[in-house]
């Protein structure tokens, strides 16, 4: 049986939906709710697999009409070139409107300061909130999934953020049935997570089923890397390698795509989607545990960043 099988083996009625169809239908419903209730929604698009799947679902939700949302990329200045090329290609192909919020600009004009450890991931929050305020976005789609992290497991599908972009886990609205409450006051906005109920494996199976193209760095390729704190990081202008860190060429791929300074590669020879799925299914590490340095900063790293307005 194929790993991407779409059959409903053992289904109880001829009308059963596969789990991927059920998740797809739910995500589309969420996109359409936002289109129906908000004035100025935007999709956060990083060129990572979750935001690519999110865009794919949004395009399906409104076909054959054009996407009623624009995209927002928070550019850390330390992006993988393959991912930026993918982003620009996608925007051109679908005739989308792209906003870019640049961490580098904020550092250059003094509104942000580079961290001593060189990690720019937490710095994204400031340009993100600035872009939301300037463009008066009232709904901001994120690709966050509840299976990623234990603070995210507490996140609502519609998550109200205050005028500072902050998330208060104690003041969340209860969310019942499929009735999403998007009410907000001027200055507030709502973060919306259509992939809340998807797991990493669901995302990959869906990519396989829908034949969605991804940036090549998600598949095994030879790359120069060096080891820092147990992770393979790619050298670059962001500040690696330091003295004593030895660069070597290895066969690797990425499980997540984020800022180069904190996103690690994993050893892999998976070059097809079937091989990637098999590799993930057998992995003893979570996606973030394997490849994200910033989540290891503290037990509540994600919660703290989310409280400040991170996605």
């Amino acid at each position: 049986m194929s790993l991407l099988s779409l059959t409903n083996e053992g289904a109880d009625t001829p009308y059963a939906l596969s789990h991927l169809d059920a998740l797809e239908s739910e995500a589309v419903h969420i996109f359409r709710e936002v289109a129906g209730e908000f004035e100025r929604p935007v999709i956060l698009f990083s060129g990572g697999k979750d935001s690519i799947v999110m865009l794919h679902l949004a395009l399906k939700a409104f076909a054959p009409a054009p996407l009623p949302f624009s995209l927002l990329h928070v550019d850390t200045g330390h992006n993988f070139p393959e991912v930026l090329a993918y982003r620009d290609r996608t925007v051109a192909e679908h005739g989308l409107r792209l906003h870019v919020a640049s961490v580098q600009e904020f550092i250059d004009d003094g509104r942000l300061r580079e961290r001593p450890d060189g990690t720019r991931n937490p710095l994204q929050t400031v340009p993100l909130l600035d872009a939301i305020e300037k463009n008066r976005f009232d709904a901001v789609f994120g690709g966050g999934r509840r299976d990623e992290e234990k603070a995210r497991a507490k996140e609502r599908v519609f998550s109200l953020r205050d005028e500072f972009g902050g998330w208060d886990p104690r003041r969340q609205r209860p969310e019942l049935w499929q009735l999403y409450n998007g009410r907000h006051s001027p200055g507030e906005h709502v973060r919306v997570f259509p992939l809340s109920n998807w797991t990493e494996l669901d995302v990959w199976q869906y990519i396989g089923r829908e034949k969605i193209e991804l940036p090549g760095i998600y598949y095994a390729h030879e790359r120069e890397v060096f080891s820092r704190a147990g992770m393979w990081l790619a050298p670059g202008e962001w500040g690696g390698p330091k003295e004593g860190e030895r660069v070597e060429t290895r066969l690797v791929r990425y499980r997540t795509v984020g800022d180069m300074s904190c996103t690690g590669a994993v050893d892999s020879d998976a070059v097809t989607i079937e091989q990637v799925i098999e590799e993930i299914a057998a992995s003893r590490l979570t996606e973030r545990g394997a490849t994200r340095a910033d989540d290891k900063l503290s037990e509540a790293a994600m919660e703290d960043r989310k409280r400040e307005g991170y996605f």
């Binding site: 049986m1 790993l3 099988s5 409903n8 289904a11 109880d12 009625t13 009308y15 059963a16 939906l17 596969s18 789990h19 169809d21 998740l23 797809e24 239908s25 589309v28 419903h29 359409r32 709710e33 289109a35 129906g36 399906k60 939700a61 409104f62 076909a63 054959p64 009409a65 054009p66 509840r146 299976d147 992290e149 234990k150 603070a151 995210r152 497991a153 507490k154 886990p169 104690r170 969340q172 209860p174 969310e175 019942l176 049935w177 009735l179 409450n181 009410r183 907000h184 006051s185 109920n197 669901d202 799925i277 299914a281 992995s283 003893r284 590490l285 545990g289 037990e299 919660e303 703290d304």
Partner: protein, 446 residues
């Protein structure tokens, strides 16, 4: 620790079960959830390592599995679960979404939240204590929310010497109580979450039990009721009009089928206007199909150019619901600010939000003994009661007993947008009978 790797078959499970757990503070819910996650390989090495580190820092000798599920700083600091969390795991046979609801803080609204989308609820009981007030509350909430399947997990069987009569007595009492609430069927399973009896693997200590383990039952319980049994309901979410050179005349009504089956050629009525037309096309996310069913998200095209917008409901002409401006419902109040007679609210039903006013609160239910408190005047946080709401515009509302999707609604505060109340239209076991309403308030639930 189970170090076996997942097989390729495990990545191909195709059906999805949403379920909720309910249990009070010390009945072992975290242990049960921890064991299900752990034994289905949903706890990975780095998560377990983080829990071990955190447990050691706190001076514990063994890893505290509750740290896996308590995701917020305040929860870990206080050692309590504040809020519903959703967890995901898979076996070769099925994918699972678990609504992990806290047992003791604000239990009713949290369980209502978790149960609203659940197809199955696991109610935990401590074998030493048997059916207690909290158990009755959990069963009542499952019944009220019409969760299709209820599992009674009689936990801590190791502490009662795995004695069959203990289990049998609890199962009988619970099943009787559940039947009085209208729960059609209860699956009772004797377990020890700590020792692992009958959670994932069958227990050698209870050879008198011939039923499934908790996981086997979760894997095999039928999901997704047959949509062809229910009348079709299609709340219009969004009108798709490309007006492009390629699609100059396309006009589609986008939405998620709330119940039933829709086919091209079906004669339909649009509510609340009552206008009629015929389905000429169904687009299932880019692909034209002849038939679609709940809960698929699709786009409908109709033969006639009607004035249809978000909030309208499309239903088969012969089975269209009546419309009303007077909604009678059982509600669970969710917010700390009480709901009072005279309150002006917004009512969100499917894709339609209308102004409304709370006309009457005829009764409040005491979940512990299901007694009715007539004319309470207001409902506080976690209270369940009956309300009558008058809406500014007619709604095409079904009874919650007939459709969880088109019979449910929210009451929203128009001033600050907070979600105040969750509503279930029509009668329920919380509907007072004539004698109840006439009986004077004896004050027995204070």
């Amino acid at each position: 620790m189970n170090t076996s790797t997942i097989t390729t078959a495990e990545t191909s499970a195709t059906s999805l079960l949403r379920f909720a757990t309910a249990g009070s503070v010390d009945d072992g819910k975290s242990t049960l959830v921890g064991r299900l996650l752990h034994d289905s390989k949903s706890v990975l090495a780095d998560q377990l390592e983080a829990v071990e580190h955190a447990s050691r820092r706190r001076g514990a000798s063994a890893p505290d599995l509750a740290l896996l599920t308590d995701g917020l700083r305040a929860e870990r600091e206080q050692g309590i679960t504040i809020d519903v969390a959703y967890r995901y795991f898979a076996t070769p046979r099925r994918r699972f979404i678990l609504a992990d609801t806290p047992g003791h803080v604000q239990y009713t609204r949290n369980m209502v939240t978790g149960a609203s989308t659940a197809e199955l609820a696991v109610v935990l009981v401590d074998a030493r204590n048997g059916v207690v007030e909290q158990t009755r509350r959990h069963a009542a909430v499952a019944a009220l929310l019409r969760v299709p399947h209820v599992v009674l997990a009689v936990n801590k069987m190791d502490l009662v010497d795995y004695a069959e009569p203990v289990f049998a007595a609890i199962a009988e009492e619970f099943t009787g109580y559940a039947a009085s609430l209208g729960i059609p069927e209860v699956t009772a399973i004797p377990i020890s979450a700590l020792a692992g009896d009958n959670v994932v693997t069958a227990s050698a200590n209870m050879d008198w039990y011939g039923g499934p383990t908790v996981l086997e039952h979760l894997e095999t319980v039928p999901v997704g009721a047959d949509p062809s049994a229910d009348p079709a309901r299609f709340p219009v979410q969004y009108v798709i009009r490309p007006q492009t050179a390629e699609h100059p005349d396309y006009r589609g009504y986008a939405g998620q089928i709330a119940s039933g089956v829709l086919r091209t050629g079906d004669a339909v009525t649009v509510l609340p206007s009552g206008r009629t037309s015929t389905i000429v096309g169904i687009d299932a996310l880019g692909q034209a199909v002849d038939v679609a069913w709940a809960p698929q998200s699709v786009t409908l095209r109709l033969a006639d150019d009607l004035d249809i917008s978000r909030g309208d409901l499309i239903a088969p002409g012969a089975q269209a619901p009546a419309t009303t401006q007077d909604v009678e419902a059982t509600v669970c109040h969710l917010h700390d600010r009480p709901l009072r007679v005279g309150d002006r609210v917004l009512l969100k039903h499917t894709t339609r939000t209308v102004k409304a006013i709370v006309k009457d609160i005829p009764s409040r239910l005491t979940l512990d003994d299901l007694s009715q408190h007539p004319a309470p005047g207001e409902l506080g946080a976690n209270d369940i009661g009956r309300v009558t709401v008058r809406t500014a515009e007619p709604l095409a509302l079904d009874a919650y007993a007939d459709s969880r999707r088109t019979g449910s609604f929210l009451l929203i505060d128009p001033a600050d947008g907070t979600t105040r109340t969750a509503g279930m239209a029509g009668d329920s076991f919380a509907t007072p009978t004539v004698e109840d309403a006439a009986r004077p308030d004896e004050g027995w639930d204070f």
